[in-house]
């Protein structure tokens, strides 16, 4: 019988099971954020700023997808990026990290969910931009909120990404007017 038997701890036993922050970690800086600008251009050429870098709500499902896309998936056929923009006239939905869909998503009048026509990342920074211009083909009243999705097909499909409410609703919009949604995304 050996008296020098070495007792080995399993990785689970070795772990302290706490996240290890880097020295430069700052809880005020290390976040994923989006800031929304929304501009309506009326038929008379006048532009109205409805959202001025409004802060987002970041749903939990989006965080899961980001992790899967970035670290888990083993092929590029997995979940795609959150580059589709949807809008709604609803004001009743509670926006928090538990949201999984955009209530009352608009699907007509040129405002149906669309692939953002502009996406850009600034190299060497934590900043990206996603933006799209919707051109109305009919009358629509009071668009109030918008969200990013990872599927273009609408509605009620894909995972909802960051979502934001405008400071001011669009009011009545008519055919020919445009709604431009620009999202600044910071991660670090």
């Amino acid at each position: 019988m050996s008296t020098n038997q070495q007792i080995l701890l399993t990785p689970e036993q070795q772990s302290t099971k706490t996240l290890k922050r880097s020295k430069s970690y700052n809880p005020d800086l290390h976040k994923c954020e989006t800031y929304w600008c929304v501009v309506v251009k009326r038929k008379n050429g006048k532009e109205e700023l409805l959202a001025d870098y409004e802060h987002n709500v970041f749903p939990a499902g989006c965080i899961d997808s980001i992790h899967n896309m970035s670290f888990i998936n083993t092929s590029n056929t997995g979940t795609r990026g959150f580059g589709a923009i949807a809008v709604t006239a609803d004001t009743t939905q509670t926006l928090n990290s538990s949201v999984t869909a955009l209530t009352g998503e608009v699907t007509t009048n040129g405002l149906s969910r669309a692939e953002a026509n502009n996406k850009a990342h600034t190299a060497g920074t934590n900043v990206s931009l996603v933006e799209n211009t919707f051109t109305l083909t009919g009358t629509q009243s009071d668009v109030t909120r918008a969200a990013l999705f990872n599927v273009v097909t609408a509605p009620v499909s894909g995972t909802i990404g960051p979502v934001a409410a405008f400071s001011t609703s669009t009011g009545q919009m008519v055919s020919g007017e445009t709604l431009k949604v620009s999202i600044t995304i910071t991660t670090s």
């Binding site: 954020e33 802060h55 026509n117 502009n118 190299a123 920074t125 931009l129 620009s182």
Partner: protein, 147 residues
């Protein structure tokens, strides 16, 4: 006697209300991983103007996708010189090769038309100064022989 501490104004920590009013300051930081501030920290700011200036001055580049300004073709671009972020989006206009060629041809035609107008105008002006009646009464040929 006790004195209440006065709230200090800090431009880097404005309220959401102040943010909305200013239109320039956002609620979270934009961070550069390539350049550092005086304290040796990564350059960080909430201010869109300052961010634009930083990225422009230090030669940051943009990569992404964007629809052609004229035909909606999707353009993929890499390492494009930085363009400013604005509330109405990124200040970047791109055209696909086909539309760019068309635009250049149209601009060339406009230049040519302007040049022609200028030449004709000059000719008319010269004609008028040489012979005020030249445009009203065609000159009769003078070197014709009667045979």
């Amino acid at each position: 006697m006790s004195t209440q501490p006065q709230p200090q104004q800090n431009n880097n920590q404005q309220s959401p209300q102040a943010t909305a009013k200013s239109g320039l300051v956002i609620g979270g930081p934009m961070k550069c991983f390539l350049h550092f501030d005086k304290n040796g920290e990564n350059y960080t700011t909430d201010n869109i103007d300052e961010w634009n200036k930083h990225c422009h001055d230090t030669g940051h580049t943009l990569s992404g996708t964007r629809k052609c300004e004229d035909c909606d073709n999707l353009i993929v671009y890499h390492n494009h010189p930085y363009r400013n972020m604005t509330p109405t989006g990124l200040a970047l206009v791109l055209r696909c090769d086909e539309c760019n060629t068309k635009l250049q041809q149209q601009e060339q035609q406009v230049k040519t038309s302007k040049a022609i107008v200028k030449t004709v105008g000059k000719y008319k002006a010269n004609s008028f100064s040489d012979n005020p009646n030249s445009q009203l009464t065609p000159q009769q040929p003078t070197n014709q022989s009667n045979k």
